[in-house]
Amino acid sequence: MAAVDINAKIPNNVDLAGDRRLQRALEQWQPKFVRWWEELGPAAFARNPVYLRTAIDVGQEGWANFGHVEMPDYRWGIFLSDREKDRKIAFGDHKGEDVWQEVPGEYRSDLRRLIVVQGDTEPASVEQQRKLSLTAPSLYDMRNLFQVNVEEGRHLWAMVYLLHGYFGRDGRDEADEMLERHSGDADNPRILGAFNEETPDWLSFFMFTYFTDRDGKYQLASLRESAFDPLSRTCEFMLKEEAHHMFVGASGVGRVVQRTAELIREHDTDDIHQYGGINLDVLQKYINFHYSVSLDLFGSETSTNAANYFASGLKGRFQEERRDDDHLLKSVYRTVPDWTESGIGAREVTQLAALNETLRDDYSEDCQKGVDRWNRALEEAGINFTFRLANTSFNRKVGTFRDHHMSPDGKPISDAEWEANMDRWLPSDSDRAHVLSLMTGVSEPGKMAGWVAPPSRGIHQKPVDYEYVRV
């Protein structure tokens, strides 16, 4: 294929036209990707023109090009942020050495594993969300869903680029397997448990993009610190796009809160579910669920894998270079939560051992910001209700609290107490059924489903009633 053709088909800044190995690998993989997209991508409106953003370059001009495009024709590209001259490794045993432009043989397996685990989540979420297009509350939301989907697709491309470009045959096999594992497939599931649950409704989608994609942000941000420069640069560019996904979540939940507040005032009751809205306590339960499940994605409080990755320079901390410590973490300490009979205790460990917990702390702090915004909206509407993030011990399946029941405020409770209160803390079957009953597709430009408020503005200076998806 001529250089012009290949660059037009696959926008990139990695000299794809000059890289025979990458070309050949992608030529074999790309048709498999398209097949996967058609089988497991969005179930409806798959061939309708969607007003999407496409990255054709990493610069200001290039990374956000808007226009209607049918998703199978979307130009998934490969972009790395610009190379930082003389970049040095910022942490771990190799601190101060030049970053690596090639994979060191010593770390091949570990790096491949990190990339595969990260990469596997990208197509997984597309699969989890594939049926949502049928019940989109507006064309605006449907477009946002598709934007998230194609970008998750592009993030898969980014990880596949690394596997193809730097890991030889093993890398190509892993890239194929990312299309062979499927979310929820009993025989061939996605790697991380949370990515094998279907996203059943739009409230879950908003919560997922707010809480779970935010885990992705923190994982990418710590991989952005990697001594393996191509991984670092890839993640840096992905973070730009990830920000949009979190916007979808934060604004989506915010619009539900706003609509609920409107209904409460309109009908002068907290119980507005009969009026086609979602009650505040149900929203709190969804927050509890998605937050706690996402906390698990960070792993155990202490982790030798994470310590090894850090010491080897493969994965740093969030904003590693801004931190004021020795960046070795072998002789600096912190406490991590520890389950005890009487409540949450603490034990002191090296920061090196506690990297998962440190990243989780950063994440929690970030999550709180959106919650504060939603609470301000309630306050402005004169409604006396405050959303809270549950204690990090609540509903955990990973780490020290795994085998213990804890209340949302972090008290150890008995099995009986848990059983008695579970439906007050987590979405009950009837909550889920009610939310699901509200999910009816709205495909008239500018119209919104009754459970969610319209956005304050449209996309890329277009009005809210713009035909974001041509139906």
């Binding site: 025979r20 994979v103 060191p104 043989g105 010593e106 091949r108 030889g168």
Partner: protein, 555 residues
């Protein structure tokens, strides 16, 4: 400790510790160790005790006897000091040596002993130990490597393995293994023998099976003469005739390289690897055994194996930090096939037999080397027959699929060709060929591989015949090799040594596999333990007058 550079090349006129006398069809090799000529100066080689330098000369003598003296059919090894045959490895030397050196030393000594047995069994040059004084420890082990042991019956000379009571280590050069496996000494007697410092003398030594014949001083020479005559009659070696002189190796050494005439080694310290490059012959090679003798040490088959052997020994001892050896070849495949043809066409000729046996021993050295072996097959290489054994010896092999597509005029793709050489010429320590070993318990796969003997196999064929590990194409090639070497270099060398020895020798146990894998594993462990090498251990306390203090816990 910085070990001095150890050189394995020597010649009889430079021997410090041995004299080699040839009398017709008999060679007498006499050990009279020069106490002041040890490799290091912190010990004296008293009472015919030896260090590596003594063994290097023995090894040289064994090789020269085979090649330079076709007419010699019996070799008598005897002691040149009064009342002493050989006192074994020097204890001060062992006490002062690094662990790695001890292990390497034992391995080389074992290989030399195996070479003596190989000479008896396959070169038909029978070795007889004329033990004319006490043979203790390694001294008796040297006698055990001979096919017959004669012991002087003077009421004081004894054979013994006193390692356990005196030194808290094992008779590590095959001693105990040969006592039970080769000489069939009963296990309880072996126990009694190996725990008795003073050893066993005279008639009892014969009764227990520790020696074959005894004679008092008055008839000692008669006994030797009688045994020489008896054994000479069994040999099929030629009566006289010209031998092949093992002329000095043409070798240039720098810090990071070693260059001979057909073999070159370059060391890459960042990846801890050394690359052996073997160049195919240019020009006609001997077609008959007589031509081989006439060509002498210049014949490519002999020159190459001598150079390879020396390079292996050099790297083993002097470059212990270089953990991966990479094998490459270059040149015309047909030229290698032509050079090798004599080994098949004139197989009964003594010089042909010796050349094959030399290759077999050298390839076995690779089998037991504590290094990761990687073989790389690229366009322009010549892995044919004997050189194809380097593919089979490898822990991992890479063969380029296709060619260098970026070149304007890509060379023909790489091929490998098995020959008869892989079907029995070069047994491994487990007594199986590398091909049999590779397909142990999988007769179908073995049949499939032998069916392609004589054919030039491209990467796909070689994969199909299960002869190579990975066949990347030119796009992946560089990266795969780089990553493999880097990754190997990141693993624990001890764990790698254990792993490799673990899978290299499938199938039956032999005396050699027991010596190399079982005995040396135990010996290495014992050599690390405080009971042997700690400040209160036996090796440190030996000769000080104070008794060792053992940790009594059994492990």
């Amino acid at each position: 400790m910085i070990e001095p550079l150890i050189d394995f090349t020597t010649a009889p006129d430079r021997y410090r510790h041995w004299t080699l006398d040839i009398d017709g069809s008999t060679a007498i090799l006499t050990m009279a160790v020069d106490p002041a000529a040890g490799l290091r100066d912190d010990y004296e080689l008293k009472t015919n005790s030896y260090d590596l330098g003594v063994d290097i000369e023995l090894h040289d003598a064994v090789q020269r006897l085979r090649f330079e003296h076709p007419g010699v059919n019996v070799v008598v090894v005897t002691g040149g000091l009064d009342k002493i045959f050989c006192a074994g490895a020097n204890i001060q030397m062992l006490a002062g040596a690094s662990h790695g050196h001890k292990v390497n030393f034992c391995k080389f000594t074992n290989e030399t002993r195996n070479g003596i047995e190989d000479a008896t069994a396959n070169s038909r040059q029978t070795w007889i130990a004329a033990v004319n004084g006490t043979a203790a420890g390694g001294g008796y082990e040297l006698a055990l490597a001979c096919d017959e042991i004669l012991l002087i019956d003077d009421k004081s000379s004894a054979v013994s393995l006193p390692e356990i009571p005196l030194l808290a280590v094992l008779p590590g050069t095959g001693g105990l293994t040969r006592v039970v496996e080769k000489r069939h000494v009963r296990r309880d007697l072996a126990d009694a023998f190996s725990t008795r410092t003073e050893g066993i003398r005279g008639k009892t030594a014969v009764e227990w099976g520790l020696v074959d014949h005894i004679a008092p001083a008055s008839t000692w020479d008669d006994l030797i003469a009688e045994r020489i005559a008896a054994r000479a009659a069994e040999s099929d070696r030629p009566s006289g005739g010209a031998g092949i002189e093992l002329s000095p190796l043409d070798r240039t050494m720098t810090d990071d390289s070693l260059a001979y005439t057909t073999v070159a080694v370059t060391i890459d310290r960042p990846t801890g690897s050394a690359t052996f490059s073997i160049q195919a012959p240019e020009g006609a090679q001997p077609a008959t055994g007589d031509e081989l003798v006439a060509a002498g040490a210049d014949a490519w088959m002999l020159r190459t194996v001598r150079e390879l052997d020396d390079a292996i020994l050099h790297l083993r001892f002097n470059e212990t930090g270089i953990g991966t050896w990479v094998f490459r070849t270059a040149g015309e495949s047909d030229a290698v096939a032509q050079a090798e043809a004599v080994l098949s066409a004139d197989a009964d000729h003594w010089a042909v037999r010796e050349t094959r046996l030399f290759w077999a021993r050298t390839l076995e050295r690779l089998d037991v080397s504590a290094r990761s072996l990687v073989t790389v097959v690229e366009p322009g290489s010549c892995f044919v027959g004997t050189l194809a054994e380097l593919v089979l010896v490898a822990d991992r092999s890479f063969m380029l699929e296709g060619s260098w597509e970026d070149l304007d005029d890509p060379p023909p793709p790489a091929s490998i060709r098995l020959t008869e050489a892989s079907l029995g010429w070069y047994p491994m320590p487990n007594a199986l060929t590398r091909l049999r070993t590779r397909f142990w318990g999988r007769d179908d796969a073995y049949e499939k591989a032998t069916a392609v003997v004589g054919k030039d196999l491209l990467a796909n064929d070689a994969t199909e015949a299960e002869l190579v590990t990975f066949t990347p194409d030119d796009l992946d090639w560089e990266d795969e090799l780089r990553i493999t070497l880097e990754e190997r270099n990141s693993f624990s060398p001890d764990a790698l040594t254990g792993m490799e020895a673990n899978y290299r020798f499938v199938g039956p146990e032999t005396m050699k596999t027991k010596i190399f894998s079982r005995l040396s594993a135990w010996q290495n462990w014992i050599f690390q333990r405080p009971n042997a090498v700690g400040p209160d251990g036996a090796l440190q306390r030996f000769g000080t007058g104070s008794r060792p203090d053992y940790d009594k816990n059994r492990v």
